[in-house]
């Protein structure tokens, strides 16, 4: 089963290049590029300082010691001490230069992702499991940080060292130098083939890591279901299967890396061996001095660990490149832009406050990601809510009620037709402007890890304590909130204490009414309340509904009775509009949806026949 959200790894034919991917990091690295450059220079300087120390020793050995100059010995010691201190300082300075800036690059990238996904359309969130996004924001961005901190610098330092080494080798004797460098050719060929395969493998591993995050997260989110059914073992199999897939991908990576790193070990070693043998012949026939051969081999031996470490640096670079791709896959998705603001008609100036008029004009909707042949979810919906009117939306489960409400704050955009507010196409309004007029209470009440006050205050800009108190009263939440340990200052949500479904629903309702919105959208806002609370909330809600326009999704007659009119949504179309009584009389489907279940006075005798021990 492939997750639809996981883009297929690019095929080798895509000519995906690690360098190209890494170069896409430029905008994020730009603010720190000078420091990064300086740090790289310092790292190079530090390794040079390391090379100077043996020279001092050589000087001491050749000069003062053999010459019997005791004061020269002191100078040598002092030089060593200073060089050592300088080297340590340069090492420290290099880290100090980039430690905070690179942590900030990571933070900035993560915040940019947070910023971006918050603004991506809901259609995106419907399809992307949050685990995939979480793994991109945490492990992938972390990987990029690691890459910038170490491999990037060392790739530069090592490359410089290698180039210098090559120059040294070739300048000493170019024929032997070429021989020493010959293994570089297969190394480059194999290296580039390895690059392509390793890039694929690491993309696979990271995508599977995201899938694992998804199943783990869902197992935690669905814990009540799993506990209720006792299905931990089966779920564990699902999670471990995902984990084994990660493991398999990682082992695949290791297989590739093992081959490549064996080569990275073997080829430089063969270079030294070849040079040694060829050099030995030259020394034997007198065409090469033993000293030159020694110097040659010394240089080759110094370069060997450099080449070896290039292998792991390159592997890390590939992983970082994959991380960049995965990150930018999300960042590249377009955020819906507001159209250029259309000047508001002047007549609206008078109606800046107070209830709005909302109209659906021949609205058709299909989810943007649906297959082309799928029937539209909403078809030809035409409805008008007069200013101050409350319209109930009734329909069978799955008839499209929630979808219809989601069009009002433009969480989704209609595929045809339009919605107008006070005669103005809402598509021409900025989302911020539109959403400032509309408040929604969703069916699934989402509370944040924040205090009661903060959760309610999210519904309005600059809500006062009085506003919040009023909203809590309307939702009949004041009573239970008073009994919370810290009252309105109690932290709720995942990290705080958990409320019952009915309590959460009432806080979501309070959030919706706190800002005195000009249009209120309530999606089955009372489903989890008990009868008494429901009646109390309805009474209070009636006052609020008197001052605003409201669209109310309802499943129960009691909720419908809050509305002035009712619209019946049937298979994506508005089948009838009228008052509750009218529709009960004239529309069979409505009557079926709203008719009271059979009276409760169930004859217990009927049951007794069932042979029950009651």
């Amino acid at each position: 089963m492939r997750d639809p959200a996981t883009p297929l790894p690019p095929s080798p034919a895509d000519e995906r290049s690690t360098v190209r991917s890494l170069l896409r990091l430029r905008p994020y690295v730009r603010p720190v590029r000078l420091r990064l450059l300086l740090a790289t220079l310092l790292a190079t300087a530090a390794s040079c300082l390391g090379l100077v120390m043996p020279l001092v020793l050589k000087w001491m050995a050749d000069g003062p010691l053999t010459g019997g100059d005791p004061s020269g010995v002191w100078w040598g010691g002092l030089a060593l001490l200073l060089l050592g201190a300088a080297e340590a300082a340069v090492f420290g300075l290099r880290r100090r230069l980039v430690a905070r800036p690179l942590a900030e690059v990571e933070a900035t990238m993560r915040e940019a992702l947070h910023h971006h996904v918050q603004r991506l359309p809901l259609a995106f969130h419907d399809r992307w499991p949050s685990g995939q996004l979480l793994s991109r924001a945490t492990s992938d961005v972390g990987l990029i940080h690691v890459f910038l901190a170490l491999p990037l610098t060392f790739l530069v330092v090592n490359t410089v060292t290698l180039l210098v080494g090559c120059v040294v080798l070739l300048s000493q004797q170019w024929t032997l130098g070429l021989l020493t460098l010959a293994p570089a050719v297969p190394l480059l060929v194999v290296g580039s083939r390895f690059e392509a395969r390793y890039a694929l493998a690491s993309r696979r591993a990271q995508d599977r890591g995201g899938d694992l995050t998804t199943v783990v997260e869902e197992s935690v989110l669905g814990i009540r279901v799993l506990k209720g059914l006792g299905r931990h073992e089966a779920r564990e199999r699902v999670v471990l299967e995902a984990a084994r897939r990660v493991r398999a991908a990682e082992l695949g990576k290791a297989r590739l890396l093992a081959g490549a790193s064996a080569l990275f070990v073997a080829l430089p070693e063969s270079a030294v061996g070849l040079t040694l043998v060829a050099g030995a012949y030259q020394v034997a026939d007198g065409s090469l001095s033993p000293g030159t051969l020694l110097a040659f081999l010394a240089t080759a031996l110094v370069l060997r660990p450099v080449v070896e470490s290039m292998g792991s640096s390159l592997a890390l670079s590939h992983e970082a490149a994959t991380a960049v791709d995965r990150y930018l896959d999300v960042m590249a998705l377009p955020v819906p832009q507001d159209r250029a603001p259309v000047p508001a008609p002047t007549r609206r100036a008078a109606s800046e406050a107070g209830p709005v008029e909302l109209a659906f004009e021949n609205v058709e909707f299909q989810y943007p990601d649906a297959p082309p042949d799928a029937p539209a979810v909403l078809r030809g919906v035409t409805l008008c809510l007069a200013p101050g009117e409350t319209l109930a939306l009734v329909g069978a489960t799955g008839s499209g009620k929630t979808t219809l409400t989601a069009l009002v704050p433009r969480l989704y955009e209609p595929t045809a037709g339009r919605l107008t507010m006070d005669g103005r196409d809402i598509a021409a309004m900025t989302r911020a402007d539109l959403r400032g007029r509309v408040a929604v209470a969703f069916e699934d009440p989402a509370l944040f890890s924040a205090t009661v006050t903060e959760n309610v205050a999210m519904g309005a800009r600059n809500a006062t304590d009085a506003d919040i108190a009023r909203a809590l009263r309307v939702a009949r939440a004041d009573e239970f909130v008073r009994h919370l340990p810290d009252g309105t200052a109690t932290t709720l949500g995942e990290r705080g204490l958990t409320l019952s479904g009915g309590q959460r629903q009432r806080l979501a309702l309070a959030r919706a009414v706190v800002g005195r919105p000009r249009l209120l959208v309530l999606d089955d806002p009372l489903s989890a309340l008990d009868l008494h609370t429901e009646a109390a909330v309805e009474a209070a809600l009636r006052e609020v509904l008197g001052t605003t326009t409201a669209l109310l999704v309802a499943h129960r007659p009691s909720t419908v009775l809050l509305a002035d009119r009712v619209a019946l949504l049937s298979q994506g179309r508005i089948a009838a509009v009228g008052t509750h009584r009218e529709l009960l009389r004239t529309n069979a489907e409505y009557a079926r949806l709203m008719s009271a279940p059979a009276p409760l006075t169930v004859p217990t005798g009927e049951r007794a026949d069932g042979g029950r021990t009651s």
């Binding site: 201190a85 420290g92 918050q118 945490t138 944040f448 989890a528």
Partner: protein
């Protein structure tokens, strides 16, 4: 008094540890955890070390061959004897092959060992977190738990990947070079070893400070995951209420804290690199000076001095690299500490040491007799939710529980399902205390459906099959039909094989509840507990479910918690709760006649339907 208010009273005592991500772990728990993780793989780890040692040893052969060639092979060559050089060729070829092969083996072996350890750890964390009670999950938070199972386990991965190589490398270098130095000059060698003491002190101070930084960093990282997860889960609210900017600001705060601590960790490492390098370089300079004076005074040979000083640098170089390992180790230990604290949490309900078995089902029906015997219950240390409750459900009986929010209905349901254990008293199923039943046995008998009808990624069929893994398609369709879910499922593009996240698919809240009911039915339990399991259904849907329930519950014992009194149509008996007590108990008809609370509720409900 709601379950949550009392839970909160308890939470305010221990809640700080949860809020600050500072759950207690026994001292040394992280090291013990690491040891217990590595122990089962010690053979593979030993093999990995041996292969690595071989590789490192082979890589030291080169210089020896160079010396041999210059001293022996070249003169032999001049004498026309190609033998020694051929020998060099042969040995070199063997070294190349051997080091390549051992390098290949090392990378694969270490990856295998590392992945196995990680898989073990994930299994443990996952299994344990699933066993922990709902009270734990509600306070720990899903984001943080996800971070523990992913990011924190990843920290260990970093250690396993890098650690072994550097540790083995450093150990080999230290042993070899110390030996060489002692061989070259006893005094100089001993002096070189003493420089190890200040180096050790530097390492120790670094370790202490790094532990602290990494501990905070791990918490900060979990907080980042949690905050992001919350944004993603509540995205509708975020967008509809224009909370994006506020969300960015609060996320930034959490994220910057992580950035600060991550910077601190790097700086701590930088400080260590600087100070340890300074100590080592000073040591080299002092030893060189001392050696030089001895050469000048004639007590040390020049050649020995030169070689010793060149080796000195390599002696300190590799152990200095251990700083990187130590950093990875501290990071892993900080993460393991959090994981160990998680693993140290005891589940609120524990598995019995000697599990009992339920008696075989009676031929009369599947139902079992459930008894709450003198049960009291309190969340944490807060006030009691159930002061004292005695209730008996006859086998095969359907009992509805009604009452206002916070009357204790869900607590009652949770006790019967053993989501938590009573503070006093017992819950018995066919006379067996629930505490004596293994989870598997318990869940074969008792299944609970809550309001929260979570849908997992996967197909509709897979989601229903959560009720009984391995169920065949016919069974899945049968239960879907029974609860009235078949109609909407058939309308989906690929029916039962439709991926719930697939293109254009949206499952409504009511449909999710139908899937949850289908799962429960597929589980085929003796006792069914429905806690507000139909709150989002429309009236016809509910009616359908009620009708279905009559067949579904036939013969089973059922406890149904519902606000909607329509549920009572299937109830043999109604229990009215208030303030954690049963205030009325009888058949619906009896209670209506009694004109008590239930009669009031019923009248209100009838009125609400007109």
């Amino acid at each position: 008094m709601t379950p949550s208010t009392t839970a909160a009273a308890g939470a305010s005592v221990a809640g700080d540890a949860f809020a600050q991500d500072a759950l207690p772990a026994p001292p040394g728990a992280s090291r013990a955890l690491l040891a217990s993780l590595l122990r089962p793989h010690r053979r593979r780890l030993t093999a990995t070390c041996l292969v690595l040692t071989l590789q490192r040893a082979l890589s030291q052969v080169g210089p020896l061959l160079v010396a041999y060639t210059i001293d022996r092979a070249v003169p032999a060559l001049r004498d026309g004897d190609h033998g020694p050089l051929l020998g060099v060729c042969l040995v070199y070829a063997l070294v190349v092959a051997g080091s390549a092969a051992s390098q290949y083996g090392y990378v694969r072996l270490s990856a295998r060992a590392g992945q196995d350890v990680l898989l073990d750890l994930l299994t443990r964390v996952f299994r344990h977190s699933q066993a922990l009670g709902l009270d734990f999950h509600e306070r720990y938070g899903s984001g943080r738990l996800t971070a523990r199972a992913t990011g924190d386990i990843g920290a260990l991965r970093g250690l396993l990947a890098k650690g072994l190589e550097d540790i083995v490398g450093a150990a080999l270098t230290t042993v070899c070079i110390t030996g060489l130095l002692l061989h070259l000059d006893r005094q100089l060698g001993l002096a070189a070893v003493t420089v190890g003491a200040p180096l050790y002190l530097t390492v120790r101070s670094f370790r202490r400070r790094a532990t602290r930084v990494h501990r905070d960093r791990s918490s900060a990282a979990a907080a980042v995951t949690g905050a992001l997860a919350e944004t993603l889960h509540h995205i509708r609210v975020v967008q509809a209420f224009r909370l994006e900017a506020a969300g960015d600001a609060s996320f930034r705060e959490i994220d910057r804290r992580h950035a600060r601590l991550s910077g601190d960790a790097t700086l701590e490492m930088g400080r260590y690199v600087t100070s340890s390098r300074l100590v080592a370089n000073t040591g080299i300079a002092v030893l060189a000076l001392w050696g030089a004076h001895r050469v000048a005074s004639g007590s040390l040979e020049l050649g020995a001095f030169t070689a010793a000083v060149l080796y000195l640098r390599r002696l300190y170089d590799d152990p200095l690299k251990l700083g990187g390992v130590l950093d990875a180790y501290q990071s892993a230990v900080a993460s393991l500490e959090k994981i160990a604290a998680l693993l140290a949490q005891r589940p609120s309900v524990s598995e019995p040491a000697a599990p009992a078995r339920l008696p075989a089902n009676s031929p009369a029906g599947r139902g079992r007799r459930a008894v709450l015997d003198g049960v009291t219950f309190a969340y944490g240390t807060g006030g009691e939710v159930l002061p004292r409750l005695d209730l008996s459900l006859a086998a095969g009986e359907t009992v509805a529980v009604v009452g206002a929010t916070g009357a204790g209905k869900s607590t009652l349901a949770g006790l019967l399902a053993r989501f938590h254990d009573p503070t006093h008293g017992r819950v018995l199923l066919d006379g067996v205390d629930l505490r004596h039943l293994a989870t598997a046995e318990l869940r074969r008998a008792v299944v609970m459906v809550t309001q929260d009808a979570f849908v997992f990624s996967g197909t509709v069929a897979e989601n229903i099959a959560v009720g009984r893994p391995g169920a065949d398609r016919a069974d899945i369709e049968r239960v879907a039909r029974a609860v009235g879910a078949h109609a909407f499922v058939s309308a989906l593009p690929e029916e039962y094989d439709t991926d719930v996240r697939a293109r254009g698919t949206r499952i409504s809240a009511g449909q999710r509840q139908l899937l949850a009911l289908a799962r429960a039915l597929l589980a085929d339990p003796d006792v069914v507990i429905l806690d507000e399991a139909t709150s989002s259904l429309d009236i016809p849907g509910e009616r359908l479910v009620q009708r279905a329930m009559r067949t579904v519950l036939e013969g089973r014992t059922a406890l149904v918690v519902a606000h909607r009194l329509s549920t009572l149509r299937i109830a043999d008996r109604v229990v009215v709760m208030d303030g954690g007590r049963v205030v009325e108990d009888g058949t619906p008809a009896e209670l209506i006649e009694r004109r008590g609370r239930f009669a009031d509720l019923h009248t209100a409900w009838r009125n609400s339907l007109t």
